[in-house]
């Protein structure tokens, strides 16, 4: 209150200017009002949309509906010239009765503006459109804006049956894969189905071993490591000479990096679409390769490349909490430059009658009960890891601590 006395001075001083104030205020107000008037287009959009209202209507139906199955995304990676685009075009033209959207991720890991091509059904034409990614505010939003953008794309059109995501030549598929591996709980309208890597048989070995600075590996390694399917393309071009042995060598090389991958040979990317679409390599709900994993012997590679697959089997129930600790150490606090790209496994969890499945991509993992152990099942822990600088002995020794059998034997 005391302060107000001196303020009388400015009062008298600026009162000449205060008539100016009311004059200014009305100017500012209509001014502000005019801006939005111009912008009414944008807003009218939603008003006009009333009758045909594509997006709003959709979200209502999405709300109350019977659970619609999420649309699968196949991510296609491979070096420039390997035949990625040929593969995409082949899939689009092939009569498969599916409506497929192609999203081109031309900026690699920087998920900027995307170009999308949409195949309007069987004999439909290709439509191209730009997808404007909601830029920015990750403000405590759980779904990455890239996933939201794809979901928006899905809403804008009538439904697609499938999405192909074509990445740039030199992209490491890991970051995008982990973004797309959305928690089931979020019930996203899209799901990562699988990663398909196209390889040029004639150039692969050279690309793989291109010199790199110490400690890092070429993208070719990473693209193989993350792949669920490798399309070994242009096999016709290596066959003539000593073709057969070259292909064998390439296959051995690929298998040593990724012991779980399925290898498909092709010329000009002509492949059976069943090998590429709907592989259901991610997520438990969809996983079909569980039984396969149980039965298939995964061969560890003998020679010691930087990126490789290791696997182990261990009898006896394991403690879930300890397995979680083991994974936390392995994925979040790795020792000795170890980097894990991908993990799959079957676990015999102590105290549960259900088989559990383990999946990991980079630092993300989940352990989920799948089905009841059946009579005749061999209860076992079987884990496969793909990564860099993996130390098998350490990994197994750490896992051994998860076994509960020893503890049980002390029980009276």
């Amino acid at each position: 209150m005391m302060d107000e006395a001196p303020s009388a001075v400015p009062l008298s001083f600026s009162s000449p200017s205060s008539p100016e104030i009311p004059a200014l205020v009305p100017v500012a107000l209509p001014d502000e009002l005019e801006f939005p008037e111009d912008k009414f287009d944008g807003e009218e959009d939603s008003a006009k949309a009333g009758p045909n209202a594509p997006s709003t209507d959709k979200s209502i139906t999405l709300l109350d509906n019977e659970e619609q199955e999420a649309v699968g995304i196949t991510m296609i990676t491979g070096y420039l010239g390997s035949g990625k685009t040929t593969l995409v075009n082949y899939i689009l033209k092939e009569q498969h009765g599916r409506r497929i959207a192609v999203i081109l991720n031309e900026f690699g890991e920087e998920l900027g503006i995307e170009r999308a091509m949409i195949n309007e059904g069987a004999q439909g034409s290709l439509v191209e459109e730009w997808v404007d990614l909601p830029n920015g505010c990750v403000c405590c939003s759980v779904k990455h804006s890239f996933v939201q953008a794809i979901e928006q794309l899905m809403e804008r059109r009538e439904r697609f049956d499938y999405i192909l995501l074509e990445t740039t030549g030199l992209a490491n598929p890991g970051p995008v894969a982990s973004i797309l591996w959305v928690d089931d709980q979020l019930e996203a309208s899209v799901r990562l189905d699988s990663i398909v890597t196209v390889v040029d048989a004639g150039n692969f070995l050279r690309q793989l071993h291109e010199p790199r600075e110490a400690g890092s590996v070429t993208e070719a390694y990473l693209q193989i490591a993350y792949a669920d399917v490798v399309i070994l393309n242009k096999t016709d071009l290596v066959k003539d000479e000593s073709g057969h042995s070259t292909l064998e060598k390439i296959e051995r090389e690929i298998k040593s990096i990724n012991g779980m991958v399925k290898i498909v040979h092709s010329e000009r990317c002509r492949v059976d679409l069943d090998d590429v679409l709907d592989c259901k390599a991610y997520g438990i709900k969809h996983s079909v390769d569980l039984e396969a994993l149980l039965s298939k012997p995964v061969d560890d590679n003998v020679h010691d490349s930087a990126v490789k697959t290791i696997s182990f089997k261990l009898d006896g129930p394991v403690d879930l909490e300890k397995v979680n600790e083991w994974l936390g150490n392995l994925l979040w606090e790795p020792s000795d430059k170890m980097e894990i790209y991908r993990m799959k496994g079957v676990l015999d969890i102590h105290g549960s009658g259900e088989m559990h499945m383990l999946q990991a991509v980079r630092d993300l993992y989940e352990i989920v009960p799948t089905r009841k152990w059946r009579e005749g099942d061999k209860r076992i822990n079987h884990v496969v890891l793909i990564g860099k600088n993996l130390n098998k002995d350490t990994i197994i020794e750490m896992f051994n601590h998860c076994l509960v059998s020893k503890v049980l034997s002390f029980d009276p």
Binding site: S17, E43, C137, C140, Q185
Partner: protein
């Protein structure tokens, strides 16, 4: 406000420059010149006439006043707001529009005089919002204050790895979180039927700048106001507007302040007048969800466990957990790693370690968990229009457990019956 508590004063090296902080917040004896930050001895007569907060109209000299007039006078136009008192919604909206208030659109980047169309999920509707509030030039501001852009935050390495804070950083966190608590308490005291959420925003804004802090939400990715006010079916990020709170409403006020380079973030949900029993249970359960989540915080606990605890407690009461928004790391950045979902079976990365600071902020719904976004691009509402509540604290992991940096203090208003 904030005159009482100064407990945490032990063991810090700074404090020389800040002697007057708590004082300036309390009895506005010391004000800085809006233009040059020197001690102010004069004030703008127009501001006085309009009864505007003195901090925005304080000057050291006539020269500074003259020089600042061009930018300063905007404050008067803004203040045309005063208080909206019309009785029914139509008149309220008309009155707000006549004062130049507009509807917010496109994530805060556009305004319109016409109400947007939407298939509203509940009874609540957006109202026009007032003009942007002024922050004195002497208050240090985050990167987005001028252009809405938070790209340094977005592309920071701290989005990928969780920082272990140094004792100095932790002290800053304590300081800013205490301010945030005081600011929220000021808003809580004002909650009652008839008050507009814009008035709550004004209280938050004034209390924040009086403490020498910047209201972090203001212009963050173009958010137009200084706090979020989320009424009834609004899950979070509601924009303070001309709507008057009604008897029986519940309203969440979410405050974040930025002080000496650090952010402190908290929110609470309040009852407006007499609230039905279902809403009381919802709000209390949400409070307990946060309490139970905080109880497990200590080094070695996986971040994914937080969602399990919250989900269990909410579903026991037949309530659902919002999945689209999560807790977050906080410090020099408003939002950073870790990401802490509140739902079960999430794949959150990492294990808690001493020295990490983050928020937990469960949003619990009476009906379905799903959310929808209003045309303003911010307001998140329940898909079924049923009510939703939220509580939030900023936490520090300590060697033995955790410290609730934004904890209630003895002066916090006793607004939650289950605490008394």
């Amino acid at each position: 406000m904030g005159c009482a508590e100064q407990e945490s004063g032990n063991g810090t090296t700074d404090g020389k420059k800040e002697q007057m902080d708590s004082g300036s917040a309390a009895g506005d004896a010391v004000l800085a010149c809006v233009r040059c930050s020197k001690l102010a001895r004069l004030q703008c007569p127009k501001c006085l006439e309009l009864k505007l907060p003195r901090a925005n109209g304080a000057f050291c000299s006539q020269d500074c006043f003259k020089a600042a007039w061009g930018s300063h006078k905007v404050v008067h136009a803004e203040s045309k707001r005063a208080v909206i008192r019309a009785d029914n919604p139509q008149d309220q909206i008309a009155e707000a529009l006549s004062r130049g208030w507009l509807y917010c659109l496109q994530k805060g980047q556009h305004r319109s005089g016409r109400a947007p169309n939407f298939d509203w999920t509940g009874d609540l509707r957006p109202y026009p919002i007032s003009a942007r509030r002024f922050v004195p030039e002497n208050i240090p501001r985050p990167e987005w204050a001028s252009n809405g852009n938070a790209s340094a935050e977005q592309y920071s390495e701290l989005q990928n790895s969780v920082e272990i804070k140094t004792p100095e950083q932790i002290q800053r966190m304590r300081e800013v979180c205490k301010i945030a608590r005081d600011v929220l308490d000021a808003a809580a005291r004002a909650v009652k039927p008839g008050v507009t959420t814009d008035e709550l925003d004004e209280i938050v804004h004034e209390a924040t700048i009086a403490a020498g802090a910047y209201p972090s939400p203001l212009n963050y990715h173009f958010f137009p106001k200084s706090c979020c006010t989320s009424v009834n079916e609004v899950i979070c990020h509601g924009i303070p507007d001309a709507r008057r709170l009604e008897d029986g409403d519940i309203v969440n006020v979410d405050v974040t302040v930025y002080y000496k380079g650090y952010h402190g973030d908290l929110n609470e949900t309040y009852f407006v007048g007499k609230v039905d029993e279902a809403s009381q249970l919802l709000v209390q359960n949400t409070y307990e969800c946060l309490e139970k989540a905080i109880a497990i915080v200590k080094p070695g606990v996986r971040y994914r466990e937080v969602g399990e605890v919250i989900s269990r407690h909410a579903s026991l009461a037949g309530l659902s957990v919002v999945r689209s928004y999560s807790g977050h790391g906080i410090g020099e950045l408003f939002h950073c790693a870790p990401n802490i979902p509140h739902y079960s079976r999430n794949k959150a990365v990492g294990v808690m370690k001493a020295g990490q600071t983050f928020t937990i902020e469960p949003m619990i719904n009476a009906g379905v968990w799903r959310d929808r976004m209003w045309p303003d691009g911010w307001t998140s509402v329940t898909a079924d229009g049923k009510r939703t509540a939220q509580f939030e604290h900023t936490l520090l992991v300590t060697e033995t457990g955790c410290e609730v940096l934004t904890a209630r203090i003895p002066t916090s208003p006793p607004v939650f019956p289950w605490l008394s």
